[in-house]
Structure formats: C-alpha cells, structure tokens
Symmetry: C2
C-alpha cells in the first residue's frame, strides 16, 4: 500500500474497495421493519423482514443452478414477497401495493457511519459496489442515501450472483488490476471467504444489528480476513484515510 | 415532466439523463494536445489528437462487424496509437511510454461548465454515462474530474457500441423505465438520432471547440432534438434545475 509515481501500474498497491451492500452498507432489517410498522402496523415487522430476506439465498441458488433463467433481484424480491404475504395476513394486497412495497429495497437506509467513511475512503481508493442487487436498485438506493460511489458494479454486470468467482474476479478485470489490488468489504464471512479464494483482500465489518436487536450476530474476528473493523469509520482509520 | 406522488411509476416523467462523454463532457482534443505538448513538444498535438480520434469509429465498426472480437476502448485506443506513432516520428517509444500515453484517455479534463451543471441536474434526475468508453476508463476519468454520476453505464455494460440499439434501449431497461423517460445528452447528431430511433428524448450540446480551435463545428440546431443548449448549465436552465 505504498505510494509510487504511477500507482495504477504498481501491482502491490491496493486500488479498489468493493463493498457488499445489504447489511454492510444499508440496514435492510431496520428499514423494512420500520416501513412495515408504518404501512401495516398489525404485522410483526421484524419477522417479516427476516422472512423476506430468508428467501433471497435460495432464490439466487435456483438461478445459478439453472432452474430459473437470469433474474434480477427486484424480480426475485417480488416473487419472495408474493410467497410470504399470505402468512402475514396480507394476501389481499393489490398489484400497486405490492409494487410499492417491493421498492422498499430501493429505499433502505445506510448505517450512520457510511457516508462520512466513504467520503474519507474515496480520497485514496476507487470505491465500487459489489452486490447481488441489480443496477437499478443499487443506483436508486445509493442516490437517496447519497452514497458517493465511483462506480456501481452488480451481479447484473457479470450475469452471475456472488459467491460465483466471476463476480470477484470481474471487479479486478473491470479495473485492469490484479486481484490483490481489490479489497472486498463485507459483513458476511461466506462472501469474504469466496473473495479470498479469488485472490482479493478482505475486510470484515461487524454490523451486530444486521438481523435486528433480537438476533445479534457473532461479530468476533475470524481467520483469513486482512482487516476487521467495527464499522467503516474504523476501516478508514485502519487504511490511513 | 410533472411531479407525482410516485414519479418512478409515472410513464410521463423524465427520470434519467444519459450523457455521452467524449466531446460532450470532456475535452478530449484539448487534453491530448496539451499532454503531447508537454511530453513530445516536437509533435503537432492538434493533428495527433485528431489522428488518434479518427481511428476510433473504424475500430468500433470492425468490432461490431465481427472482424474483431469484443474489445474494450482502452485496447482499441492502444491499437490506434501504435498505428499512428510512426507517422508522428514516435516509432521509437517503448512499451512503458505507450502504456502511459494511452492512459491520457483516463485523464481527460471536463469542460468548465460540467461539474456545476451536473450537481444541479443530479438533484432532479438520475445521471448516468452512456459512452463507448469502458468502465475502467469512465470510472477513473470521472474520479479525477469529480463527476458526480449516479451510475456509470458503458458499451461494456451492454457488450455493444453506440449507435447499436442495445445501448440506448439498455439504459431504459436497466432503470426499469420507458425509453421516453430517458434523455440522451450529446454533442453528436448521429448519436442523438440513433437514440431517438429507440424512443429516447434527446438534447444537443454545442461544444464548438470539440475538434480544437482550428476546426470549428457547425453547432446550429437540427430538427428532432427536443432540447438544444449551448452547454450543460444552459441545459440545467431548460430543465428547471
């Protein structure tokens, strides 16, 4: 991570920070629970958020297994939503209400440290997203939360969902750098582990409230991650930004 | 362009401004001529910039005709550069010098109105690039010029070069809007005409110095463009930003 006259040509220099979004940058659980409380106060927003998110990995797995054609996360979110509404007493919701509710994923709030930390990190590094969210979702979410990305990269860019190696390797190829010049920043060890297998550096962010206050995460350091930080401001400190 | 409670669902509302980059946002001619003057003062920087750019459309045409496989603009720029160096007495340049010179396309300067105008336009619209430049070029160029895009879209995103309809239609599909909710902003009538054929709105920007002070462009209004503006500040005025 030392400076050179032409850092873009130095294979030792960390150049790109690629960020996971759901949980790492935005509080999907809190945002969904809050919006459910406002729209449908009779529903348990905590359980609803967890049920919606629980359908996410299996839906992507069906796409990657070829059981579904390539499908954007907006559409997978909608399929999962339609599936869980009856169990929460909301089978009666009409099309317009479902469309609006599904767009909650475009309105997720960032954790309070994010904007200030990204602003610091952006002075030194290229900041991009690497999320399974589609470009539309990531762009609108980032715009409303004022997230200062240099570039938005998505599973949609690579037509493959994390943890497929095409996504992690794709970031290095897009920016014409070695995999070790890219660091994935995420709050999920499986994501980070898959990135390391592709040669990326990794930084773990704790986010103890990702699943809500009732379901605390085990945020203790795990072997393999080059950096471990409480939040993104701590990451900026560690990276000297 | 009227406001509604849910503008993202109103098919009448302009939502996305997609910007051509070379000539419209950045002064490729002036930036290359200046860098040539600094590096190789014996070379006619004006002629060099024009010769380099002149190879651009034919190279993309060879890719789109299938004579070349999909090739990023960084690599096409390098092939064209290698072809023109001998004619300018620079056949002796080594690999490192060629690599550095080719990266001038990552360092192009924005026209002086751009940052202030994009900052105004961004309050009301999603701002994206739609350029034949690759994602790496567009990201690094935008970072050094502090261009506040919401999303960087490229021919690389769609694996097709403008004026292929996949690029213009692709912007609407990415953002899940109707083509008429997207406006292409460019200083080239052929680009705008192809966008209109795909249902996009169009705005022409004059940029009389795109080809240098010795080669003024005909910037008079042409039929078909919804808006015609001297520069991006004038466009922001026209769009009420």
């Amino acid at each position: 991570m030392h400076a050179t006259a032409h850092p873009e040509l130095d294979p030792q220099t960390l150049q790109v920070l690629a960020f996971d979004i759901f949980g790492t940058i935005v509080d999907w659980h809190g945002s969904i629970a809050l919006e459910m409380q406002e729209r449908y106060p009779q529903v348990d927003g905590d359980a609803f958020a967890l049920a919606w998110r629980a359908g996410y990995a299996p839906a992507m797995a069906r796409v990657m297994a070829g059981e579904l054609p390539w499908t954007l996360i907006d559409d997978l979110h909608r399929q999962i939503l339609d599936g869980i509404l009856p169990g929460f007493g909301l089978a009666h919701l009409g099309e317009a209400e479902r469309v609006q509710l599904n767009l909650v994923w475009h309105r997720l709030a960032a954790w309070p440290d994010v904007v200030a930390a990204l602003t610091r990190l952006k002075r030194k590094y290229i900041l991009c997203t690497l999320s399974n969210g589609n470009l539309n979702l990531l762009t609108r979410l980032s715009k409303q939360a004022a997230l200062p990305w240099d570039c938005i990269l998505s599973a949609e860019t690579f037509q493959a969902y994390k943890p497929d190696p095409r996504t992690y390797g794709g970031v290095a190829r897009v920016f014409d750098v070695a995999p070790a010049q890219v660091m994935l920043v995420a709050t999920h060890h499986d994501d980070l582990s898959a990135a390391r297998a592709c040669g990326l550096r990794t930084a773990y962010i704790e986010r103890p409230l990702e699943l809500g206050a009732k379901h605390t995460k085990d945020g203790r350091p795990q072997a393999g991650n080059e950096l471990h930080a409480r939040d993104l401001l701590a990451l900026a400190d560690l990276l000297g930004c």
